[in-house]
């Protein structure tokens, strides 16, 4: 049925070539570099030192804290976007009026760059003014926090800013998903006597699964690359005791401040390994299930 195999391959070829060079070629280069002693701008002779860079990384508190932060950030950010996105979509869906206005409001944060978002949220999360001032004024003083200056809260503050920026995207996705659910299903359910909660969990949520899975991929790749936002809010050192630091930031400092190129490459390799361990099974699983695709 699908005759010429040549044509599809030919159409894909440009992308395959580009990606082979700019993605896999560079991954190869990075992997090789991580095994060498190139930790200065000019190293002579260049030697292969095996896993020395990796073992040194494991001894650095900043690296370990950064990895933990990535996990915390991803969980907080993705959950936050999904919950806020779904909540907002449900609210907007239940009223027909002013939809254009709501849409402009929740999509607006997406238009800003991460750097700008970071600058504003750094101001907002200043412990002695910003949000804390407002919360005090609104009588919600107990919600005050040190935000990113509080080593215990740290990266979660960054996640809040990131949720602000991208929850509009998930909201739009869920809104679309809600609208795709045929009205007949709800009618049938109410005829059957199902309550609001049952309808939600038995009909709405399962049908929104593909949306959720799709969103997780997009949000996931953003959360693994988060960098500009961290620097703009917590600074290049990732805040007090590295509580907001992420490996992408650490790598940037290691390479371009400390000139430790091989060590920076090792950080990249660790990140990529972690990503493959998470992403590839996830993709395989959702592929097989045929959901979200």
């Amino acid at each position: 049925m699908r005759t010429a195999r040549l044509a599809p391959v030919a159409l894909l070829l440009p992308s395959v070539v580009l990606v082979s060079v700019f993605v896999y070629g560079f991954i190869g280069w990075t992997a090789w570099l991580s095994l060498t002693n190139v930790n200065d701008l000019m190293v002579n002779p260049v030697r292969v030192v095996g896993l020395a860079n990796f073992t040194r990384l494991m001894t650095l508190p900043r690296f370990r804290i950064g990895l933990e932060n990535t996990v915390t950030f991803s969980l907080t950010f993705i959950t936050g976007c999904l919950v806020l996105g779904l909540g907002g979509a449900l609210l907007i869906n239940s009223t027909v009026r002013l939809e254009g206005l709501w849409r402009t409001i929740y999509l607006m944060p997406m238009a800003l760059s991460f750097i700008v978002t970071g600058v504003v949220w750094r101001w907002l999360m200043n412990p002695s003014s910003g949000l804390n001032l407002l919360l005090n004024g609104a009588g919600l003083g107990s919600l005050k926090s040190g935000w990113y200056t509080d080593p215990g809260f740290g990266i979660k503050a960054i996640a809040i800013a990131a949720v602000w920026q991208l929850s509009g995207y998930t909201m739009a996705m869920y809104l679309a998903g809600l609208r795709a659910i045929p009205a007949e299903l709800y009618e049938a359910a109410s005829v059957d006597g199902a309550g609001a909660r049952q309808t939600f969990w038995r009909i709405t949520m399962p049908l929104l699964m593909p949306v959720t899975l799709s969103a997780v991929i997009v949000l996931g790749h953003v959360s693994l690359k988060i960098f500009d936002l961290v620097i703009a809010i917590a600074g290049p050192q990732g805040g007090p005791a590295f509580s907001s630091d992420v490996p992408a930031n650490f790598m940037f400092q290691t390479v371009f401040q400390a000139n430790r190129f091989a060590e920076g490459a090792a950080v990249s390799v660790v990140l990529l390994v972690l990503v493959s361990l998470l992403v590839i099974p996830y993709l395989a699983w959702s592929f097989r299930r045929g959901i979200g695709w």
Partner: protein
């Protein structure tokens, strides 16, 4: 007849073209820095003006990349240098940041001839000349300015109300801090978002604890990082951190300075770019003094320029370097930038009151290289120290900090 007129016409046009090309003469120059706004940018432009006057037709490309303390700029610069596309000259801190990043690795040309021609060995102080040399004893950069790091800035009114005088020693600091606290004022304003301001504060405490010689020894291996002098400094710093504004991790140095300007904080220990900030904001009652325990010591840093080996326009760059180190250049640049000349023969009348005070001190104080601003330690060492400071400022664990600092020094000594 018509052909002859045409011949004339072509001849005229051709000669006009040739003449204008000759007048263009000029040449190009690309200067790389992170001076994008304020007095620093104004100073840089002034230098460009003079350069263009000295060399008519000179085209200058002002390649700047902003981003606190040059972190973006460094990424761009290093990518370019490694890619074999250097700018003609770039802003770099004098001292180990220059020598260990660029000289040892073979990217820069020595400037001994230039120094001899311009007679700079007689006009720059010895302490500065040492910092401009590579390990082979040759000169590799020209300092455009000198900034002082160990300055105490204080709100005069707040001090008056609290009945305090600027503290001369670390012990006096704590007495003054208590008085300010009792008067309801935050004693010390700190803005260490990005941590370097904390490292900056710590280096002044190190100087206070070890003295100029002891502090210098930290960078040559003579002073032991695991010794009692460093421990004393760490303990003093822990105590000082108890007198600091609670939101220090959220503020940058200028936002901490705002606290002093508004009288909400009594003092801040920061470099003399605070003076430029105050002048820009029209602030009048902030006074200055050497940082506690730092009397007689000038903790210096400098923005300097060198000659990369593959600089595309070598002749123009040498002219630029000559201009940077000249009396005319330094007198034009520094009053605008808010720093003092590296030369000892500049006209002090061109400078504001603080800078005149600094120039006086510059002539007699012991000169030490700044840690936080690239003079004392190479970049990877400074990064290690900054990382130690990140944990120290939050955890206040002096023993752990000393271990980390010692390890950083050991790592830096490896080759």
């Amino acid at each position: 007849m018509r052909i002859r007129v045409m011949g004339w016409g072509i001849g005229v046009v051709l000669s006009l073209v040739v003449l204008s090309a000759m007048a263009q003469g000029g040449g190009k120059l690309e200067i790389f820095s992170w001076w994008t706004t304020g007095g620093e940018a104004a100073g840089l432009l002034k230098l460009f003006e003079i350069a263009k006057r000295q060399q008519p037709g000179l085209e200058i490309i002002n390649a700047t990349v902003a981003g606190g303390a040059g972190q973006n700029a460094k990424a761009v610069l290093k990518t370019r240098m490694l890619g074999g596309d250097p700018p003609d000259s770039f802003q770099v801190h004098m001292g180990r940041e220059l020598t260990d990043t660029w000289v040892v690795t073979g990217f820069m040309e020595p400037l001994d001839d230039l120094f001899k021609q311009a007679g700079w060995e007689q006009t720059f102080p010895k302490g500065v000349l040492e910092l401009l040399k590579g390990s082979d004893g040759r000169y590799y950069s020209v300092p455009a300015n000198i900034h002082r790091a160990n300055v105490l800035w204080y709100n005069k009114k707040a001090f008056q109300s609290a009945g305090a005088e600027p503290p001369k020693t670390v012990d006096e600091f704590f007495q003054v801090a208590d008085k300010l606290k009792a008067a309801g004022v935050t004693p010390l304003a700190l803005g260490d978002n990005g941590i370097w301001a904390a490292t900056h504060l710590f280096e002044t405490v190190l100087i206070g604890s070890l003295g100029a010689e002891g502090y210098r020894g930290l960078w040559t291996g003579k002073t032991d990082w695991s010794g009692p002098g460093v421990r004393k400094a760490l303990d003093a710093m822990v105590r000082m951190l108890g007198y600091v504004n609670a939101d220090h991790a959220a503020r940058s140095w200028d936002q901490a300075n705002d606290l002093v300007i508004q009288g909400k904080a009594g003092m801040t220990i920061m470099g003399d770019w605070v003076d430029a900030d105050n002048l820009a904001k029209g602030v009048k009652d902030v006074g200055w003094a050497p940082a506690p325990g730092n009397t007689g010591v000038y903790d210096a840093l400098s923005d300097s320029f060198g000659l990369p080996k593959k600089a595309p326009h070598r002749a123009e760059t040498l002219n630029w370097l000559r201009l940077i180190g000249s009396k005319e250049g330094q007198e034009a640049f520094n009053p605008l930038k808010g720093s003092i000349c590296a030369r000892t023969d500049c006209n002090s009348k061109l400078f504001g009151p603080y800078l005149q005070w600094a120039m006086e001190q510059w002539k007699k104080d012991a000169i030490v290289p700044s840690l936080a601003h690239g003079a004392a330690a190479k970049e990877s060492w400074l990064t290690g120290i900054n990382d130690a400071m990140s944990l120290f400022v939050t955890g206040k664990d002096a023993a752990q900090a000393q271990r980390l600092l010692t390890a950083a020094a050991a790592e830096a000594a490896k080759k």
